[in-house]
């Protein structure tokens, strides 16, 4: 029963028209929820969470750094999965998703690198070090740029999306290999303090605002992807009847 519902939902969301209708219904409440979650998390973290006993207030950049990094990584993996769906099953929505996911992910990767550098200066005494995580984030940024560049270079949107999708698939494998290959060089970066399994090594008073700002960033990402996907749907389906009707009715 549940499986059937999931399967039907998946097939329905594969239709651009259905996705457009669905997102029209979801966005009006998802957008404010995302904004509120994000603002609550950031303000709580930056202003009210207790200072770190060792790093003082400088650690507070974690409330921007960690959400951005996690969003960037998840975005690329999501793009790789969408790429696989687009290349193997040629599903239209997956093609649209590849295009919609890339820009925000690239921006998050850049934010993660910049905030990381700023955080590195007071804690490690250097803005940049070629350690495993920083290097793989930099490569991740390059690979986002590659996907976007390839997409812009090919004129036919379907072909562009599938080409970018294939590149994203290869890229997902590459990120993992890069991560472990640089790890051979000694790592400066602190270990993860948040763990899904087992005891987190972070104080709860610091953890909750972090979790909330992460959730907020992911929701904002989802909103951004939906909005971009909607624009892309309209531009691709501009010759179909329902888009013409929609435009004639004033775009609602």
């Amino acid at each position: 029963m549940l499986w059937k519902t999931i399967k039907r939902g998946y097939h329905q969301l594969g239709s651009p028209r259905y996705f457009y209708r669905f997102s029209s219904a979801v966005l009006p409440w998802l957008t404010p929820i995302a904004l509120i979650t994000f603002v609550v998390g950031i303000v709580w973290g930056l202003a009210f969470a207790p200072p770190d006993y060792q790093q003082g207030n400088s650690y507070r950049i974690i409330y921007i750094h960690v959400p951005a990094s996690s969003g960037a990584l998840m975005g690329y993996v999501a793009m790789g999965i969408a790429g696989m769906v687009a290349v193997v099953w040629r599903m239209k929505m997956a093609e649209i998703m590849i295009k919609a996911i890339a820009p925000f992910g690239a921006a998050l990767t850049a934010i993660s690198l910049v905030t990381g550098a700023l955080w590195g200066k007071p804690t490690w005494g250097t803005y940049w070090q070629w350690d495993a995580r920083m290097t793989s984030m930099l490569i991740l940024l390059f690979m986002y740029i590659g996907v976007i560049a390839l997409q812009n270079a090919i004129r036919d949107p379907r072909q562009a999306a599938r080409a970018a999708g294939l590149l994203a698939m290869v890229g997902v494998i590459n990120v993992v290999i890069v991560k472990y290959s640089v790890e051979w060089v000694n790592t400066l970066h602190q270990g993860s303090t948040l763990k899904l399994v087992g005891e987190s090594t972070i104080n709860p008073a610091m953890k909750y605002p972090l979790l909330i700002s992460m959730l907020g960033t992911w929701l904002l990402y989802a909103v951004n992807v939906m909005v971009r996907a909607r624009t892309e749907i309209l531009s691709r389906e501009r010759r179909s009847g329902w888009v013409k009707q929609l435009v004639a009715a004033g775009g609602r």
């Binding site: 290349v87 270079a153 072909q159 290869v170």
Partner: protein
């Protein structure tokens, strides 16, 4: 198997009759490496320090630049469409093409690499690891580069775009390739690092041609 042999023979013959495609990457490799003593300093100690990285980066760029023309001529003459519509799996002729390309452009790089290593003042004991690492690394570079070449084959501004797509994918090979030589210079055991290069080669050889064939299909629009 017959399709593989036929394509391999055809490609080798084509490359053999157009030797510029073999010689240019080789000259590029030699020239780029010889820029470094002029740019950094001819001081042997300093050169030996940067030599593994320099030789490896130059080899990587030479392979990458040679990829640009891999499918272009076939696409212009229509051979590529024939190849994709032929009654064999596209992976087979594609693999043959890659093998031919590596034999004609990658293998010469392997053969001159000890010479360049010596010119860069690498100690003699590091020359063999250098050669082995380039032997194990360049086929991976060829296969991964071919994915980029396949995706950009129909575009007229292929060159720089290809570099943007492919360079991030080259990084693991570069790390272990140059790492093997550096380890050898420092007198450490290189077998482990070379084994990882071999593992990367196994990965790219098994999955790469499939990705190249998929990329060609996408680029040709079917």
């Amino acid at each position: 198997m017959r399709a593989f042999r036929a394509t391999l023979m055809r490609e080798l013959l084509l490359l053999w009759r157009n030797p510029a495609e073999i010689i240019n990457p080789l000259f590029f490799f030699v020239m780029v490496v010889s820029l470094f003593p002029l740019a950094i300093s001819p001081e042997p100690k300093q050169l030996a320090l940067v030599a593994p990285g320099v030789v490896w980066v130059a080899a990587l760029l030479a392979v990458m630049l040679s990829m640009d023309g891999l499918f272009r001529r076939d696409q212009e003459s229509g051979v590529l469409d024939q190849l994709l519509t032929a009654p064999v799996l596209p992976v087979i002729p594609v693999s043959a093409k890659l093998l031919a390309h590596w034999l004609m452009t990658g293998l010469p790089l392997v053969l001159v690499s000890p010479l360049l290593g010596h010119m860069m003042q690498l100690p003699t004991l590091a020359l063999e690891p250098l050669m082995l690492s380039i032997l194990l690394g360049t086929p991976s570079l060829t296969v991964v580069g071919a994915i980029g070449a396949a995706l950009t084959v129909g575009l007229n501004r292929g060159g720089i775009l290809l570099a943007v797509l492919v360079l991030p994918l080259y990084i693991p090979v570069l790390i272990f390739g140059a790492g093997a030589v550096t380890t050898a210079v420092q007198g450490g055991p290189v077998d482990g690092v070379l084994a990882v290069l071999g593992a990367l080669l196994a990965l790219t050889l098994s999955l790469g041609p499939l990705a190249v064939a998929a990329g060609l299909k996408i680029s040709s629009g079917n």
